[in-house]
């Protein structure tokens, strides 16, 4: 191989990369909506999409999970039309969005009551927020300290940066002292369903997740507030007596228009909110 040939070969990759870059993504078809984001909302989003596509077959909705961060990033990068998020947008993300010429608009589309769950055979069924804080920060380590059996407490949490984890940390662990950390012994599960599965098999376990994941294999505990012990039910979240609930967001680029507008309007309408209830989340209406 002579030298000139080598130089040409070095140039070719550059050309190739330029070529691939230039086939940028085409503008979305008008009738297709790309939704992605929060894992908490992925089942809800799926149910919305399924119901909406049944009512308006001309629209097509693709639902992806990955996490609130993925959703917001996709919106910022223009690769998604809607972002599901179980936390509000961070400053850094807003700045990045403006930089890219995207103007995220926030829509509250429902509420999520976080249920604290134990195995159905566990006799402990009422806990105050302070007790919860002590359990999850590792101060209380045995069920007998709470009036249960002599059994070690197995803590189940979501991974550190899921919206659910952040919310629980700020609003439950933080009740006594701000910035309290989860116990190092907490198992960080990749998803709400895996917490549900583990609680179902493990009499010593305690975990938390969205109300939608409660099944007969787990039992939610009533959480103590100034008004007594309150169970995580839709009614209690609506009347704001249940203390661990948070808003769920959808972000759009600017004020929604056309198909996206129709979809958002539908989500906020009675039929869309009926889906929220059916998924055991709490409607805004």
């Amino acid at each position: 191989m002579n030298r000139k040939f080598s130089i040409k070969l070095f140039l070719m990759p550059v050309l190739l990369v330029t070529f691939v870059t230039s086939c940028a993504r085409p503008v979305n078809e008008e009738s297709q909506i790309q939704v992605t984001g929060s894992d908490t909302m992925v089942n809800l989003g799926q149910a919305w999409a399924e119901a909406y596509m049944f009512e308006s077959p001309e629209t097509f909705i693709a639902v992806g999970g990955g996490g609130s961060g993925v959703g917001i990033a996709a919106l910022i990068n223009g690769t998604a039309d809607l972002a599901h998020a179980s936390r509000s947008m961070k400053e850094k993300e807003s700045a990045k969005a403006e930089e890219n010429g995207i103007h995220p608009q926030e829509h509250i589309v429902g509420y999520d009551g976080l249920a604290v769950v134990v195995h159905p055979d566990n006799p402990v069924n009422e806990l105050t927020l302070l007790q919860l804080a002590k359990i999850f920060s590792g101060e209380i380590t045995n069920w007998n300290e709470l009036g249960g059996e002599d059994l070690g407490i197995v803590l189940l949490s979501r991974e550190v940066n899921s919206g659910t984890h952040v919310y629980f940390k700020d609003n439950v662990l933080g009740v006594a002292e701000e910035g309290t950390e989860f116990s190092e012994n907490a198992l960080l599960m990749p998803s709400s369903q895996s917490i549900a599965d583990e609680v179902g098999q493990n009499t010593g376990a305690i975990g938390y997740y969205g109300m939608g994941y409660i099944s007969p294999q787990q039992r939610p505990v009533a959480v103590g507030t100034s008004e007594g012990f309150v169970l995580p039910t839709v009614a209690n979240v609506v009347n704001k007596s249940y203390p661990i609930a948070r808003p769920l967001f959808i972000y759009t680029n600017g004020a929604p228009e056309g198909t996206i507008r129709a979809y958002i309007d539908w989500i906020l309408s009675e039929s869309g909110q009926a889906v929220v209830t059916a998924q055991d989340f709490v409607p805004i209406l």
């Binding site: 940028a24 993504r25 790309q34 992925v42 999409a49 693709a62």
Partner: protein
């Protein structure tokens, strides 16, 4: 010290090794057996031919099956020409050059990079950097890159297996290097290359981490239309329904596992069959 009878010793060693081998192999049977027994009930024609319904709990997994096939086809499409060309370079053009050593080192490293790092790379470069979005294009490019070493290594092996006297004879007849490669070496190593491709197929079909952030959709009942669409994929679907969807039947989870396992092992069985036929038919 009493010396043991070497033959008795050998018998004992042989038995021990047999037990060890059984211990290694039995889990394969257990895994495959469990998945078949528990999953077969969920798999029927509807399961294979319709889209999921009722929050993925009912209906079928057709979009995930099609998605996996599309991803595999895409990965093969990108990586095969590339991988075969690289292997030809390594074996036929510059086997002992410094560059070839670097290329080999590069391939070795590509083979060693964990799949989740490919996922990171794919997310950063294809999805965000090149603005391909979460799409078939981004996902297949990521998978292709990851499987490149498989293709290069297996192709290089089968090129090397072609005896040198074939090349020498061809060159002596006045054929150019490329003509030799094209008409002598490639036809004689075709089955080996094919085996490599089939193995890549089975590997690409089962990967989750690289497609997690680059192409996989949680729910997308329509079949893909353009390379900028997202798709559902079987491994991702299994991950999603076994960790993210509440109250889903165990038989559905096992059903998806069975379809995925069936696809991957089926493809592998084809590769094994091709290879054993090739060994029998080898003319040199």
């Amino acid at each position: 010290m009493r010396r043991q009878d070497p033959l008795a010793q050998e018998r004992r060693a042989r038995l021990g090794l047999l037990l060890v081998t059984i211990l290694v192999i039995v889990p394969v049977a257990l895994i495959v057996g469990t998945v078949i027994v528990k999953g077969i009930g969920a798999v029927d024609w509807e399961f294979l031919s319709t889209a999921p319904r009722n929050g993925l709990r009912e209906g079928g997994i057709l979009p995930a099956i099609v998605g996996t096939l599309v991803l595999v086809a895409g990965a093969v499409l990108w990586s095969v020409p590339f991988g075969v060309a690289t292997a030809i370079y390594l074996v036929e053009y510059a086997p002992r050059s410094q560059i070839a050593r670097w290329v080999r080192l590069a391939i070795l490293n590509l083979a060693g990079i964990p799949s989740v790092v490919y996922g990171l790379f794919g997310l950063g470069i294809f999805v965000i950097g090149l603005k391909l979005g979460v799409s078939i294009l981004a996902g297949t490019l990521t998978l292709a890159l990851m499987n490149l070493p498989v293709i290069v290594t297996s192709t290089a092996e089968s090129l090397k297996a072609v005896p040198d006297r074939f090349r020498v004879a061809s060159l002596a007849l006045g054929a150019s290097r490329w003509q030799t490669v094209r008409h002598i070496v490639l036809p004689n190593s075709l089955q080996g290359i094919l085996t490599g491709i089939i193995l890549e197929t089975s590997r690409a079909a089962g990967e989750t981490a690289p497609i997690l952030f680059t192409v996989a959709a949680f729910y997308l009942p329509r079949l893909p239309r353009t390379i900028y669409d997202q798709v559902m994929a079987l491994p991702m679907h299994l991950y999603a329904i076994s960790t993210q969807v509440p109250n889903i039947g165990m038989d559905v989870r096992y059903g998806v596992a069975l379809v995925l396992l069936g696809l991957v092992l089926g493809v592998n069985a084809i590769a094994i069959a091709v290879r054993s036929r090739m060994r029998r038919n080898r003319i040199w």
